[in-house]
């Protein structure tokens, strides 16, 4: 199928970019590793979890999810840059499948996530993270994380295509993802929040993802233990539903936006 090879060529372009400017890859892995170390040693001492292994066990799933959530910003700003530089016009004038470019880019950002998550996992292990559930479930958790990043990548595609300026997109996507990742159970229990916020935090896809990962890594989800809402009771199911919904909305929307030359 031509559409698939086209998409893979676009993905290859992204990998080639990383090979030509390796700093990008280095910095995109340093940042989450820095988060791991900061949270582990700054907050880790003062948050008692009552679990063996301490805060870092709860922290790692939170940071994994946060990092994959930032895929949104990465995808969006990368695409916006191509837009402003006129590269998208060139791709559009080529006899390639209209969805190839956007599929290729989400795939590329997904591959980058594999590298980033591996490095983070290793950093976590060094500072004491010990998932206890066995290799299968751990693997499943990582697949889940990649899928989450991939679905958010599509939101990023849409944001990038709608943008006028690469910098605006970058800032805007951080403005969305940052509160989203903190208004969750990722770093602290939701039970300490004011009631309305608790409600938001429980339904937040980041929370369901974090809770799902904690389960898969063999932890009880302490940070949402007192919550009785559906998402906190069924985080795995709920996370899947969120991903499917995001993809169902943003894949057609983005492909349409890309091929709709009128809009530009």
């Amino acid at each position: 199928m031509n559409a698939i090879t086209d998409a893979l060529i676009i993905t290859k372009r992204q990998l080639l970019q990383l090979a030509r400017v390796p700093e990008v890859l280095i910095f995109s892995t340093i940042q989450p590793v820095m988060f791991v170390l900061l949270f582990r040693y700054v907050f880790g001492g003062s948050i008692a979890t009552g679990d063996p292994g301490g805060y870092v066990q709860l922290l790692m799933p939170g940071i994994f999810v946060q990092t994959t959530a930032f895929t949104l910003a990465a995808t969006a700003s990368g695409l916006a840059e191509d837009m402003t530089k006129g590269l998208i016009d060139r791709f559009r004038s080529l006899p390639i499948s209209r969805s190839a470019l956007v599929f290729g880019r989400t795939l590329g950002d997904g591959l980058l996530n594999i590298v980033v998550l591996s490095v983070m996992g290793l950093a976590g292990f060094i500072v004491g993270w010990r998932p206890s559930s066995g290799i299968l479930k751990i693997g499943l958790a990582f697949i889940f994380l990649l899928a989450f990043g991939y679905s958010l990548s599509w939101v990023g595609i849409f944001a990038g295509l709608s943008a006028r300026d690469a910098r605006v997109v970058q800032n805007l996507s951080f403005l969305i993802t940052f509160p989203l990742t903190f208004l969750s159970n990722a770093f602290a229990p939701t039970t300490g929040m004011p009631r309305p916020l608790q409600y938001v935090a429980e339904w937040n896809p980041v929370s369901t993802m974090v809770a799902a990962c904690r389960e898969l890594f063999g932890l009880q989800n302490h940070f949402g233990a007192t919550a009785h809402s559906f998402p906190s009771q069924h985080p795995l199911t709920m996370s899947l539903v969120y991903m499917v919904v995001i993809l169902a909305i943003f894949v057609p929307l983005s492909v349409r936006k890309y091929s709709h030359a009128n809009k530009k």
């Binding site: 290859k12 080639l16 030509r20 402003t84 006129g86 590269l87 004038s93 006899p95 009128n262």
Partner: protein
């Protein structure tokens, strides 16, 4: 056979506030070069975007290579090449990377893509810098690489949107050479430009656009005739103005006009450099030493002056990224008025 036909294209922005294309029609005979000449914001880029399937017009129709642009855009994309105002290549990648990638996207095999990339790099004198990232290229090199990328599958119809804007004189000369080569190879070319000399150099036919409309069409000679050809201009001291006006009028055969502020005497001439020599002889005989003497070829300003009665002013531009209205006025010297 006509390779490009556009009929009654209309395209408005901002709910009809800005008319980028206002009932614009054009056609290009196969194997010839049409230059679309006009100031910024005249609609040049918009017409290229419509013909290259990037933009749908509000109304009107167009065919490229006999294929309907609106009905079968994917077929049009197979036979066209496009090189825009901004070099649309991946700047972090090398020239070689870019051309191989585009080759692959045109569905050439791996080996074929590499062979084609190397051939094009050689042809555009980029072999030495092939392994350097585009970021390190000069403006002229970027444009050449961009052009190379649009030639990967030897398009039947080529669109070049202001291929030399922003290049230094040497870069322009090189680009012209490259384009002339291509035209010899038989490609049909639609080229937009702000420079009359560029259109003159490269095109068989020229259309002049203003406010999204075609305001004149013809060969470069025909347009020049319409504009009035060259003007002889002499700048002298205040004391010698009247004597100079007589001399210039004598050489020209027309009454000379005077720009008092600049002390510039001018008149249309048809004999080119000969007129220059004649007027210098006359002035010298009269003991007048001119401060400046020039033979001015008609500029875009002059074309506009004679066609529309106003100087080519950049119009409100709806920028490509939709950033809003951007009004740029070039510092236009209204020489034509003198």
């Amino acid at each position: 056979m006509k390779s490009i036909v556009a009929e009654h294209l209309v395209r408005t922005y901002r709910n009809g506030e800005v008319k980028a294309l206002d009932d614009l029609s054009l056609d290009v005979e196969e194997g010839t070069v049409l230059s679309v000449l006009g100031p910024n914001g005249a609609g040049k880029t918009t017409v290229v975007r419509v013909l290259t399937t990037l933009l749908t017009p509000d109304s009107g129709s167009a065919t490229v290579g006999g294929i309907d642009v609106l009905k079968h855009p994917e077929k049009v994309r197979e036979i066209i090449g496009l090189s825009g105002q901004y070099a649309a290549v991946d700047e972090t990648l090398t020239g070689w990377d870019n051309l191989v990638m585009f080759g692959r996207l045109y569905h050439l095999g791996k080996k074929e893509s590499v062979a084609r990339a190397e051939e094009l790099l050689e042809r555009f004198s980029l072999t030495e810098s092939a392994r350097r990232p585009i970021k390190t290229y000069s403006g002229g090199m970027r444009r050449r690489l961009d052009l190379a990328a649009s030639l990967i599958v030897q398009p039947k119809v080529l669109f070049l949107d202001e291929p030399t804007t922003g290049l230094d004189p040497r870069g322009r000369q090189e680009m012209w050479g490259v384009i002339e080569e291509l035209v010899k190879g038989g490609v049909t070319l639609l080229l937009t430009t702000q420079y009359l000399d560029e259109a003159d150099q490269l095109a068989d036919d020229i259309i002049v656009v203003d406010h999204g409309k075609v305001i004149a069409r013809g060969t470069s000679d025909a347009l020049k005739k319409q504009v009035g050809g060259e003007r002889l201009e002499v700048v002298v001291d205040q004391a010698h103005i009247s004597a100079t006006m007589d001399a210039v009028a004598k050489v020209s055969g027309h009454t000379a006009s005077l720009d008092e502020g600049l002390r510039k005497v001018s008149a249309p001439v048809t004999t080119g450099a000969t007129a220059l020599i004649e007027v210098l002889r006359l002035l010298d005989a009269g003991g007048i030493h001119p401060l400046d003497v020039a033979l001015k070829r008609p500029s875009l300003d002059d074309v506009f002056m004679s066609l529309t009665g106003h100087v080519a002013e950049d119009q409100v531009v709806v920028s490509e990224t939709g950033r809003g209205k951007k009004k740029e006025k070039l510092d236009k010297k209204s020489e034509a008025k003198s």
